[in-house]
Symmetry: D2
Subunit: 398 residues, 4 copies
Amino acid sequence: MARRAGRHFLQIPGPTNVPDRVLRAIDFPTIDHRGPEFGVLGKDVLAGMKRVFKSTQGEVVIYPASGTGAWEAALVNTLSTGDRVLMYETGHFATLWQKMAAKLGLEVEFIAADWRRGADPEAIENRLRADADKRIKAVGVVHNETSTGVVSRIADVRRAIDAAGHPALLMVDTISSLASMDYRHDEWGVDVTVAGSQKGLMLPPGLSFNCISPKALAAAKSARLPRSYWAWDEMIANGKTGYFPYTPATNLLYGLAEALKMLDEEGLDAVFARHQRHAEATRRAVRGWGLEVFALEPREYSASLTGVLMPAGHDADRVRKVILEAFDLSLGTGLTKLGGKMFRIGHLGDFNDLTLMGTLAGVEMGLELAGVPVKKDGVQAAMQYLSECAKAPARRAA
Amino acid sequence: MARRAGRHFLQIPGPTNVPDRVLRAIDFPTIDHRGPEFGVLGKDVLAGMKRVFKSTQGEVVIYPASGTGAWEAALVNTLSTGDRVLMYETGHFATLWQKMAAKLGLEVEFIAADWRRGADPEAIENRLRADADKRIKAVGVVHNETSTGVVSRIADVRRAIDAAGHPALLMVDTISSLASMDYRHDEWGVDVTVAGSQKGLMLPPGLSFNCISPKALAAAKSARLPRSYWAWDEMIANGKTGYFPYTPATNLLYGLAEALKMLDEEGLDAVFARHQRHAEATRRAVRGWGLEVFALEPREYSASLTGVLMPAGHDADRVRKVILEAFDLSLGTGLTKLGGKMFRIGHLGDFNDLTLMGTLAGVEMGLELAGVPVKKDGVQAAMQYLSECAKAPARRAA
Amino acid sequence: MARRAGRHFLQIPGPTNVPDRVLRAIDFPTIDHRGPEFGVLGKDVLAGMKRVFKSTQGEVVIYPASGTGAWEAALVNTLSTGDRVLMYETGHFATLWQKMAAKLGLEVEFIAADWRRGADPEAIENRLRADADKRIKAVGVVHNETSTGVVSRIADVRRAIDAAGHPALLMVDTISSLASMDYRHDEWGVDVTVAGSQKGLMLPPGLSFNCISPKALAAAKSARLPRSYWAWDEMIANGKTGYFPYTPATNLLYGLAEALKMLDEEGLDAVFARHQRHAEATRRAVRGWGLEVFALEPREYSASLTGVLMPAGHDADRVRKVILEAFDLSLGTGLTKLGGKMFRIGHLGDFNDLTLMGTLAGVEMGLELAGVPVKKDGVQAAMQYLSECAKAPARRAA
Amino acid sequence: MARRAGRHFLQIPGPTNVPDRVLRAIDFPTIDHRGPEFGVLGKDVLAGMKRVFKSTQGEVVIYPASGTGAWEAALVNTLSTGDRVLMYETGHFATLWQKMAAKLGLEVEFIAADWRRGADPEAIENRLRADADKRIKAVGVVHNETSTGVVSRIADVRRAIDAAGHPALLMVDTISSLASMDYRHDEWGVDVTVAGSQKGLMLPPGLSFNCISPKALAAAKSARLPRSYWAWDEMIANGKTGYFPYTPATNLLYGLAEALKMLDEEGLDAVFARHQRHAEATRRAVRGWGLEVFALEPREYSASLTGVLMPAGHDADRVRKVILEAFDLSLGTGLTKLGGKMFRIGHLGDFNDLTLMGTLAGVEMGLELAGVPVKKDGVQAAMQYLSECAKAPARRAA
């Protein structure tokens, strides 16, 4: 195969473009994970992750595993076989998570819903109110559905649980939102937050996280699902001194330390504002093409990816293939029931205005190339918006 | 802290010194794990790992996890709550593995034994013969005890199981032996082999492996331990096309592809011979110091690490600290009941004669510096042996 | 200073964006430049460079120096103090080269000319015809003026020299054209070609090259300018075995080996076609903005950079500053007499359609942001052209 | 060729082992050498180099060139065709430098001498006294002869020049001593110091340096040798703001910034003490083998390399070949008249006790393997010395 010149555009909604500083950091020799140098690193990354979970007072554990592992950890640490969990169908990943819960021997109630909307706090409240004998032990919601680009309003879900006076734990998947979109573990009353390294944290995949409230920790004491690799107790106990109960993914932790430094340098609020800007520019582009953003409600728009609906009769995956071949740009596919019907543009992680413009240009040209009848006003609309942002003093401050 | 000049000597028994080619490989941008390029990579590393498991006809799965995860995978895929497993106390890691089995809800029989010897096939045979109603579902043995440097003879364990006419699965931990010492998954009739990336495979930690026999696969069909992340079925199904059911640790897989290439370039037999040479040189050094190799039986000597017993009254950990501070050399500690009584020299992975000599010189000088009464003939004895090897035509061929 | 997210757009006309493969290659340990491994590398890169000079039969030397050094080498190896050289004012770099010639003690005739056009073969022919006693020893022309984006037609210059029946050597600077635009050392009868690493060769700066005809080699025998570092004789003699008379820039040579491999993989003709495509797209963008391409003659358009004239009253350097600050995009400045009047867009090296589109979007938004009255049709025009190219079978073949 | 396991031992007297931090630093994308970020880098490395020249008040220039270029720069900036220079034959590199001077059109007086001793200040004084009409314009001495491991006492040479009341400039080559051995540009009254990147500075080759006294700067005003690439004036003028008159070797400058940081972290005095320690350990090893250190006078021993004389009838290059093949260790060859008669052990740059021990073990085993009749007490003697150093408080302070 002939070499492709220039840099690949990896605009799937994660893994994201890993910045050079992070790649170079993971390219250092592995050290003794029981030696003094490692303890300093371990404490540093744990403290940094607490800042990212919005200065949580809870506990953070870091797994040598991808995000799917952190899903499993959230469940097996807090629940017992046969426990009932309430999950909400926001999309493909919510569906996978509830399937995992079922596989692990939990009894799952899955609130079926329209993938174009986030979790409905009212529906959750109603269900919990109906659960008179409190059989539901946990509520699981995906903050930012990576399969759709729809956000669930976690603070409102918390309020719904409280309004129902229900003791269920609140578990939230932030795999494609953490460090890209505002997320507040403590303030929003989340009990277990699940996160991964390969999106807003700008790392390669291979690390995942649980952020754990005192209530979840207490639940872990009586939870009976078998667990060892994922067990919080030894992770937390070892973490106090910066170490791990078993061999950690040392080189990825080097990268995490660097990524956390970069987030500090940019400032989390600036990071969030940047993602918002790119998301809005992308939506304007989508409308400029005469296409539809998959998310229906503005307050549920994702800042980290945008789902784009195809006109009827046009296969999204063919478009993606054309774009990959013609312009070396990877986009996200439509998953399961959305197969062929949509594609997803990732605009999260280490990303900037001009890389977004290259991406949108690739999509605009690719849609044409694939024979999809679109207007060619997308790139123009995005530029218009980014120009306005560039003029505003707020952005200059950032 | 003042900078230390030169290269750290990482001579713990893993993680090992990751070669530059592997580090540079993991320093490439992460790609789309659903794209065409990834499928090529995935198939390549799976095929390569099968070669390393000595051209197995079985299945191989690769986890984004450290070796501990692959331990768990071996158990949860093949067993059900309350199943009985027979494990053999060869040292700290065998002890940890059986603890894990207990945590996961298995009933563990642990054959207590002297850590200075490998698993005794006869004892296993006897126990299995006594298990008239075949309640024991699996036998778990550590091939190379990382905590002691003692090898268990897996082929003999297999013969023992067969002699007992017992249907139990044979599970073997090769975390610190694979790609350093001769190991034959199919020929030795192993059902599940457990391995990790950070030792003989010369990678950073973060990947682990199961190699699976048809019999183990069949057992997985009826095994009832809850499992999702570790479940073989989807891993194997996806692996046929080079993909993974969830996000893999892409950058570590780049490293794995490079490491497998390097193993091919050197040749597995040459790799094993090299490890044997370094182990023998190390043992001669130990005897040259007037100290004792922890392993008692020559046929059970490890080729990847050597445990060294301290004279009574001398704390091994103080020696390790002195050596780390004076010579920037990390050695393995004595674990649990061996704490302070021994230290371990790792001589596995990407390693050569002169780095071994630097290591042994560091130990010899450090023992003196720490006031341990030793003879100063260790380095000399090791050089003598390496010189002889260098003269022999066999080595030149390698 | 707050961290800037995403990747910097380095669209000056060199140094260019160094691809990861090349960066990683230079990140390997330095080897003994007198050892056997080095000889293999040395021969490899010399052979590869000969291919890049279009399979030259001449000699190639590689200097541990930037391009300026290779200018000096061309002069000091072939000329003697007081020798007359004829140079042609195509822009800033032609001017610098003739200044260097003067500093080195040569008598320079510099044909003053309009920077918006390439060297005029007729003017050169006329001057040479007038040089009845053949005092002019060399003619020096810049193939692709990096300061303007104007190309000189070297084959025509050669014909002009021949038509005048003049024995002067022909020296050509290809610093910003080699490996980006078609260039033929032997076929075009060039005597000394000067090149650098940091443009089409996709390397960091620090290596430079002379490609030398037999006639130039013969001239070197009688040339009397003092020389040692730049002396061809020892370089060529050592090069036969892949070595250097003094310590070479080993790690940059690693990068060169990788870059040459990448050029082979893409194919030089595909590389040239790609540069042509990006240049044409850029010119269409410039016209879409209602601005003027600096180069006047289509047959003299550069494929590696485009000079853009500003409307009167608008400072190009302010625009560049606004663009750098708002969009993290570096553009080339107008040099000396063009200061503030133009900016230059580099589109050479390891580059592709979408990075070009990001670049052009940055320029279009930046022009607006800086208050320059332009039409917003540039990006659209470029996309239109790239889409057409993507549809054409020729491009697919590439 | 089969892959060699483990890390190559590069113990030639330069290029030295480039530390990972430096290699990773040069592996970052090239930036615009005219942009604001570069100016910060440029000023940083120039300031750092002044510290390395022992806080010089003079000027420092950095060339994108190897050390040989900095030799040429020293000459062409200060001298005119036909000027007389006095150089001292300390070895191969002193010989090369004077050859270069002759090639450049200078009239060289070369004081022939025994390569086993450093430059004799008295001989220099006598010659200068005899130069009644002050025809000698410069005295050139190599501080640390890389071909022999013999040091010339520069402070004494300065005193000799002063004692003779002679106005000649003093030029000193510190290519293999700077940042390894104590060197004081200002205090010792040196006019031009010549240095390179690939030895004590721990970088790959490709950068070289001149450190320039006010007197040398004044001489440059009237010096008439043709010069352009090497011309100090523009380099110094541009350097004030951190820039370069032509494209610098940006990525090597990244490495230089990192190397300077590392030298600061270790402390120059600690660096010098470390080199002294390794040199003394090496000499004890040489004597332990019953061989002879090439340098005759203890006060002239090099701290960065040791020349080892072979017993008559044994070819040093065969020994080097045997050692390279058997133990993957590169040693320096005997140059010109020392060919086959000696080999050189480099112990400079980023180096530590155990890598030295690996090196010495390789030499000891290799000598035996090559059939050279030596005693096997070298490694033991070196360990004895290093152990003593490790016990001494002074070293602990370092």
